[in-house]
């Protein structure tokens, strides 16, 4: 899609809501080129080339997703940078951190630049790559961390692949700390996880699966926290799945450790019992844990302890057409991302303040991203949402290449009507 050059936009009559700026009122928003130039009252001489009527709608900061798989390069049968960032834009996302586990892996500045170029060409949202922490994600050899940072990686991660041993983790963190590089980790002890494919629980016993106990996450987390403390690296725990892990992160923070964390949207919605019936859409990583964990993670978002990421992982049909454990992991989230979050608000599970912060100002602060805020002179990254409208995604109206969306054919509340990225309207319903 080609972006039409737009010079000035006035968004009229919308309810501007950004808890990080204490904005919660009906006011007009004035945009010039890629910037917000005024809130409330038009700057002198402002002449809007385009006017959006936002009466009855909310205006939020453009959303930030800290973890999404874009399928490209290497897996274009599942989706492309163009299709997946377009799906993100439809959810009001203007900044997206893509994961390094493409093929080839994002472990060189050339690959990182390629992804950025394709994202720019698509023009739907800003893509901030997460680089590989080890070469080829092999878990053994340090990647060219400094080069990756210079190429624009927002953080480095080993994604789901495990490290050879604790020494490698320590050395990675040690090296990264020296250059102020943020590392992301999704702790999981591979020996404890074994060949498990879901949370160890009554349901795993009933279905006849080896389970992944909470200790597979928490024992590994303890190692990452201790090594982060020892090396002084800035650590972001990606996709916390259990209450105990969240408690450990909070305790580490109280002790002064510079650690932050997010949770995958699916882990707020589903729990292990949803695996009953062998629904391969429930085959994900990190696994959906107990109802108690699910509730604790929702509370963590409400308390501002966790940002929410999509953990988007589009799959082609053949990858999911297999018995549960043999199916590929993951769900396609981006199309439904914000509507699912608004539904949590509507069901009174999340407050609107916490929901919006968890996908804008909080991840921006966690990863030091200059975005996620509505204020004069900030980038004009905005989305306009009709919270009362409902939206239903179907296989045919979904934009993502992966139709493995667990919310298909279910009405969700809250519909993004416009997404503005750097002052350009990139999506309009």
């Amino acid at each position: 899609m080609k972006i039409q050059p737009q010079h000035t936009i006035c968004i009229q009559g919308g309810h501007v809501f950004d808890p990080s700026e204490n904005l919660d009122a009906i006011m007009d928003v004035y945009i010039e080129n890629d910037c917000i130039v005024a809130l409330g009252k038009a700057p002198e001489g402002f002449k809007a080339e385009e006017t959006i009527n936002a009466k009855g709608k909310m205006i939020f900061p453009g959303f930030i997703d800290t973890n999404a798989f874009l399928s490209e390069p290497g897996f274009t049968q599942k989706g492309t940078i163009n299709s997946e960032t377009q799906a993100a834009a439809q959810s009001g996302i203007t900044t997206l951190c893509c994961t390094p586990n493409s093929k080839p892996v994002l472990d060189s500045s050339a690959q990182v630049t390629l992804v950025q170029d394709k994202a720019k060409q698509a023009g739907f949202c800003k893509v901030l790559p997460i680089g590989a922490l080890t070469a080829g994600l092999n878990g053994e050899q340090l990647s060219n961390m400094h080069g990756l940072k210079e190429a624009g990686c927002i953080a480095l991660s080993n994604q789901e692949t495990s490290f050879k041993d604790g020494h490698v983790i320590k050395q990675c963190y040690h090296y990264a700390a020296g250059f102020g590089i943020t590392v992301m980790a999704t702790p999981l002890d591979p020996a404890l996880a074994q060949d498990g494919c879901m949370h160890e629980s009554a349901t795993s016993t009933q279905l006849g699966f080896a389970g992944i106990g909470e200790s597979a996450e928490t024992t590994a987390l303890a190692q990452h926290l201790i090594l982060a403390e020892e090396t002084g690296v800035k650590l972001h725990i990606s996709r916390v799945s259990s209450q105990r892990a969240l408690d450990m992160i909070n305790a580490a923070k109280r002790n002064g450790l510079n650690v932050t964390a997010d949770v995958a949207l699916g882990n707020l919605i589903f729990n292990a019992e949803d695996c009953a019936g062998y629904n391969s859409l429930m085959h994900v990583t990190p696994v959906y844990r107990s109802k108690q964990d699910q509730t604790a993670l929702i509370n963590g978002v409400n308390k501002g302890e966790l940002s929410i990421c999509s953990n988007h992982l589009p799959q082609d049909i053949a990858s999911k057409m297999a018995p549960f454990a043999a199916s590929e992991k993951g769900i396609s989230v981006l199309d439904s991302f914000s509507s699912v979050i608004f539904s949590l608000v509507k069901n009174k599970q999340l407050t609107l303040e916490a929901a919006i912060a968890s996908i804008s100002s909080l991840p921006a602060k966690q990863l030091n991203i200059a975005a996620g805020v509505i204020k004069v002179e900030a980038a004009a990254d905005l989305c306009i949402v009709d919270l009362d409208a409902s939206i239903t995604h179907t296989e045919s109206n979904m934009v993502s290449g992966g139709k493995n969306n667990p919310w298909l054919d279910q009405p969700l509340s809250g519909k993004v009507t416009h997404t503005i990225n750097n002052g350009h309207i990139v999506y309009q319903s």
Binding site: E200, S201, A202, S204, T205, Q206, L207, G208, F209, A210, G211, G213, I269, F270, D274, A276, G277, Y278, N279, L281, M282, A318, M321, A322, P323, F324, A325, A326, V340, S343, P406, W407, Q410, L412
Partner: protein, 332 residues
């Protein structure tokens, strides 16, 4: 905002509650399980005749789809199908198509193109039979011959048949299942069937490392101590211990396992005097059971084997009947 979980009991029943697939004993009513037992009982009579075949599945094609090697179970299904007058095709998939990269779905679609009427499926993945039942064209029945650690319902039902023929009914029975519960699809299917059929108490006995998480939620009392677990028991079901279990830090040694959980004459004496001893086979003498017990007067292990064929005939006949009733309805 949850998805529609596919109720395992619903997928195997027709709209009017008849069996059309047989995937698990979980969720099936006492009436259905009893009907299966009664049907199998009626076939036992035909097995002693010189002409053992009945024409119930004449003209039907049954495909034995074994993704995991199994000579015994496959042979009993083959014999059962033949005695129902069906045409039978044995496919040893473990060594053919899937090793060439063909997906499970491709294999299925190929077989459907040959107008098969029934798939008997064994697969190493839990839920595989379930998956196949969801994706086959209507009118093809799926019989689960063992999926991963999940279920082995025909084995469990032939065990139920054996128990009923020996004990008359289930009402006052205490049943102990002993050994490697963790990896056992048979144990899971037995626990559901026994509870539904009204057994007084179901116990599972084994070391913690061989008992799955929250096993009691399935309806079984867990014991680590076999001497306590066998007290007052009417039926003892021993499970086979795979030798590779010593390697994954599950057990210290065969010797210690036998000492703690092997069914010896001494331990058998702790159960009720008329207790019966069962084993789904093949047995490991001296690993989980003493020879004197396996061959002793309380053992019904060989009766289980004979009951295997009528039980498989029963579920095949019933599932095909359920499929046909659905078909007839569509034609009307």
């Amino acid at each position: 905002m949850t998805m529609n979980p596919l109720d395992p009991s619903q997928i195997q029943l027709t709209e009017d509650g008849r069996l059309k697939h047989f995937l698990t004993t979980e969720g099936l009513s006492k009436e259905i399980l009893t009907e299966i037992l009664d049907t199998a009982d009626s076939f036992i009579g035909t097995q002693a005749r010189s002409v053992k075949t009945v024409p119930l599945l004449r003209g039907k094609t049954v495909v034995n789809l074994f993704f995991e090697n199994s000579t015994r179970t496959r042979s009993t299904f083959e014999l059962a199908a033949k005695r129902l007058s069906a045409n039978i095709l044995n496919l040893d998939i473990a060594r053919s198509a899937t090793s060439k990269g063909e997906t499970l779905m491709d294999t299925l679609w190929n077989l459907e193109s040959m107008y098969s009427d029934m798939f008997v499926v064994r697969h190493a993945d839990s839920g595989a039979a379930h998956f196949i039942a969801q994706h086959v064209t209507p009118n093809v029945a799926v019989i689960n011959a063992g999926d991963g650690r999940h279920a082995h319902p025909t084995q469990a039902m032939l065990d139920m048949l054996t128990i009923r023929r020996e004990k008359g009914s289930f009402e006052n029975l205490t049943v102990a299942i002993v050994g490697d519960i963790l990896h056992s699809r048979v144990a899971r299917s037995q626990i559901y069937a026994l509870n539904t059929l009204g057994a007084k108490e179901v116990r599972v006995i084994g070391p913690n490392t061989l008992l799955p998480q929250e096993i009691e939620s399935l309806g079984a009392k867990a014991y680590n101590n076999m001497n306590q677990g066998l007290k007052g028991v009417d039926v003892i079901i021993m499970l086979r211990l795979q030798k590779e279990r010593m390697q994954n830090a599950l057990l210290p040694s065969e010797a210690e396992f036998y000492r703690l959980y092997g069914l010896s004459t001494d331990k058998l004496a702790l159960a009720n005097p008329d207790a019966i001893v069962m084993h789904p086979g093949p047995i490991n003498r001296g690993v989980e059971i003493e020879s004197a017990v396996a061959d002793g007067p309380q053992s019904v292990i060989l009766k289980q084997v004979s009951n295997g064929i009528p039980m498989r005939m029963a579920v095949m006949a019933m599932a095909m009947g359920g499929q046909q009733s659905g078909q007839n309805k569509e034609e009307v």
